[in-house]
Symmetry: C2
Subunit: 337 residues, 2 copies
């Protein structure tokens, strides 16, 4: 099986300068992948070099969705944006997956419009991987849905479990719900009701996961509404950046500390590799009739290539079929209630 990934080369903070080298590297590493580079030909070609023409093709698209463009406008007005053309390729089976580092809201809106939702799923969700002390966890939603009903959180659980089950070959990954620990007020009504639905769902539901439990690996899949998920993810990013900055500052304080930094470099580099957020780049837009991966806008070539790896993995492992299957299994249950 040859896997074809359509790449929105214009998205992200760096555009083709990052996306094209990452794509070429991705093709070099895997014999069974093809890429379609979508975007402005004149901006992409300079980075192409002597790429394998059989496996790297270019699809010209004149427009670019700006990072701060309102999604509704991008959807309505930019029918020939690199993002839209890449998603069209997936719809028309010219590609198996689409990867973009562009405007998240626009990617979500255009994906939904072009690809449509899977039957039985009401809303798409953004699912990212976070490192934990024990390995990693999948968290969703991270910003697509601000107000969620309990039923939506249940669907997130089913989609997340299907993803982990397909990719990591685990029959019944553990699923938790993000909540707070105060006894009297444990969670709001939506979370309480969602927990009941999850308990009855046949998923391997392990109950509440508190904020710190995310990083302790309390569950392999953690569901939450997009508001709290987005805040938790970004707060984590902010904290990690601040801590890294402070550490750098201490090692840069004077000549002696700089010398110590030099000596400690191998250890510090191992640490950096261990916690490198670029390794976790590539969030899945789940619930669509197609595989779409969102890369961080600031991704460099290493990070973007990881998002491409995730896309290929999702195709290879049959994530879409797995989600559809699990949703279908659920139908009668849901009707019975």
């Amino acid at each position: 099986m040859i896997i074809t990934v359509a790449i929105d080369c214009m998205g992200g903070d760096h555009g083709p300068r990052v996306t094209v080298p990452a794509a070429l590297d991705f093709v070099r590493r895997h014999g069974d992948v093809r890429v379609v580079l979508v975007g402005r030909e004149e901006e992409i070609r300079p980075f192409l070099g002597g790429a394998d023409a059989a496996r790297v093709s270019l699809r010209h698209a004149t427009e670019v969705v700006a990072m701060d463009e309102p999604p509704a406008l991008a959807l309505r007005n930019k029918k020939n944006s690199s993002m839209r053309v890449a998603l069209n390729l997936v719809k028309e089976k010219g590609a198996d997956a689409c990867v973009s580092a562009g405007n998240t809201g626009a990617l979500m809106a255009i994906s939904r419009f072009v690809l449509k939702m899977l039957p039985g799923i009401d809303r798409p969700a953004i699912c990212a991987i976070l490192p934990t002390t024990r390995g990693h966890t999948h968290v969703l939603d991270l910003g697509a849905n601000v107000d969620c009903a309990p039923e939506h959180l249940l669907q997130f659980g089913i989609m997340g479990a299907s993803l982990v089950s397909a990719i990591e070959h685990k029959e019944r990954p553990t699923v938790g719900i993000l909540n707070i620990g105060e006894e009297e007020i444990k969670g709001n009504d939506v979370v309480k009701r969602a927990a009941e639905l999850l308990k009855e769902s046949g998923l391997n539901f392990v109950g509440n996961v508190e904020g710190d439990g995310l990083y302790k690996g309390d569950a392999e899949v953690v569901v939450c509404d997009g508001f709290v998920g987005n805040v938790a993810l970004k707060a984590s990013e902010g904290l990690a950046q601040m801590l890294a900055g402070f550490l750098r500052q201490e090692f840069n304080r004077n000549l002696l500390t700089k010398l110590i930094a030099l000596i400690a470099m191998p250890v510090l580099n191992n640490f950096k590799r261990h916690v490198d957020h670029r390794r976790y780049n590539g969030a899945s837009l789940l619930g669509l009739k197609g595989i779409v991966l969102k890369s961080h806008g600031s991704a460099d070539a290493f990070a973007f290539a990881n998002a491409l790896e995730r896309a290929a993995e999702a195709v290879r492992s049959g994530v879409l079929a797995r989600i559809s299957e699990r949703v279908a299994q659920r139908q009668p249950l849901q009707e019975a209630i």
Copy 2:
């Protein structure tokens, strides 16, 4: 002015073993403070040593609120708990403030019952200090209120600004609202409406703060509902612990890395001091007719002493009067709307 702090010595994971030495240290450092140690005399006395009897007194209380006890039960059944007796002292003007490392939900419920709310404030909020790249910020609510109306978030803004204004002698501290950045869906309806109220409030409102903005110091006061605040805070704790663990792991890998750790120790210790969460221990329960500080349950003597410092500061700077004043100023405005 002599400041008297009533201390719930039985609360927290460690009880008198931590709270009493911290109290004695606090008294030693300040000539103008007194402490009333509340709890089981037989458990407190062994840690008293030759304490200055004029400034350290003991108030026997037979019961203890367990860390996992339902707040409603603690409120109803434990009229003679160390927590309740300490709060009664504040109510009866036997003390200027109460500090506890005990059960947060119980502390909140009993404080509210014993001390009552300030006029014009509907709900108490937990306000903690977080470090930022530029200094620190005050965030509320962190778990007292799961579902908030826009009006509550506005009140949190007024209380937080009053606290910072009193303690840090800033006339108009900046106030932001925790939100997410996706263009299409920026925030839910409650947050949007709260932002409008904050804009019209006369506070120095700077708009939305995203998760990472918390640690960038985007605002001196950040308001949010207790669910998202609690998750963000605990996720941060979890991430910091995980990163510290990974760093330790890398330095412990083998004899060479252990030697490097030894050499890098002074730098690593400076870093540790810089980001030591114990320095930020002591969250204010705002909105009550009395000063109540909540220490982290796992606090050691250094951390607990910091919570005591915060309590004394709040008394000294007249936080309660400042909040009342600002709420009163607001009344006509609110009625005008």
